[in-house]
Symmetry: C2
Amino acid sequence: MSSVTLPKVEPVPRMRAEDRRELVLTAATAVFGERGYVGATTDAVARAAGVSQPYVVRMFGTKEALFLEVLGRALERLIDSFTSAIDENPTATPEDLHHRIGAAYADLLMDRGLLLSLMHGFVLGADPVIGAAARSGFLQVYRLLRHRGGFSAKEAADFLAGGMLLNTLVGIRMADDIDDADARELIESVAPTKSELLVRLSRTRP
Amino acid sequence: MSSVTLPKVEPVPRMRAEDRRELVLTAATAVFGERGYVGATTDAVARAAGVSQPYVVRMFGTKEALFLEVLGRALERLIDSFTSAIDENPTATPEDLHHRIGAAYADLLMDRGLLLSLMHGFVLGADPVIGAAARSGFLQVYRLLRHRGGFSAKEAADFLAGGMLLNTLVGIRMADDIDDADARELIESVAPTKSELLVRLSRTRP
DNA sequence: GTCTATAGGGCGATAGAC
DNA sequence: GTCTATCGCCCTATAGAC
């Protein structure tokens, strides 16, 4: 009797490994962006992705490896997006390119976790593994602007500076203080054409 | 015999509470700057200050309260420093002031932990307590530039953008890649007059 | 004013079943 | 491919002695 093989329903939908991987990476990007590398738990990632905590670890080996993968993905999207903006406008002037790449950057902000995960990586430069990855990624972006985008050193630095301020305003959730006149002015002067977007994205509860 | 009161040597030097407090706050600033709010442990702070871990907690109540105190101190020094730069040059043009306050900012970088602790606070905007403190502090600086420094909205935003890039380069330890031509160029174009300082400060092992 | 000892909770990772 | 159970570490905070 106990040896009868019963038909079993799968309580959790199975997925191709690659699809599940994408799902977890997306969830991880959001969680790392919100809480940072150390503050994020593999359990929070697992919940956000609808899988068990040990499965997240099983998939990526360690939390550090997962974070590195998130960083790599974010960087890849950033580079792809900038590269497209550059290559689609081969005759653009530097100022023109600055605006176009800036627009591409603002589009990336749609995924708040993406840029914020990068930011969290940037402030962990003292970590031998994460710091090295962050430096390498930041330099890749600089090189892209400088050598493929034709930016001067100053133009590239100015562009990056604006990006860092934008990231900071999103990270700090400046739009939570949107009723404050100065906060509103700051947000609108940083992202004049995208301030609506920035406000939505930099709110604690979007 | 056992009731004889023996003279006792103090194994650990006693200090006035206020002095010890300063010592711990200085240590905490360095540790939080290096590892962030979550990554820093009260034990690491205690070791850096040469006291026991429970004593650190006893002094500030919680790790969160300690971090808030570090943030408050950092902000205070930033504001004081900017205010001095402004008030000492009442007839300076906006560009002039930009340079003078920029120089004051670079001086603050001498204490790497100071600005980096702030940066770690800035990316934790989602935290109800720390996020609120970080927003309030960031806005105070903006108001100072705008209303006491006489900066336009754009000038203030540009100044802050440069500051965020500077902080990021220090946080990411960009100078660890100083042998890379692009990294060197970026550092020198961001801090032309202070690149030596920036290099020293943004190295993992200073 | 400062320490030692330790409780208590959370988290990353492993083992192993299905 | 995915889960449950659980180990062992680390970390904050408390208790209490000196």
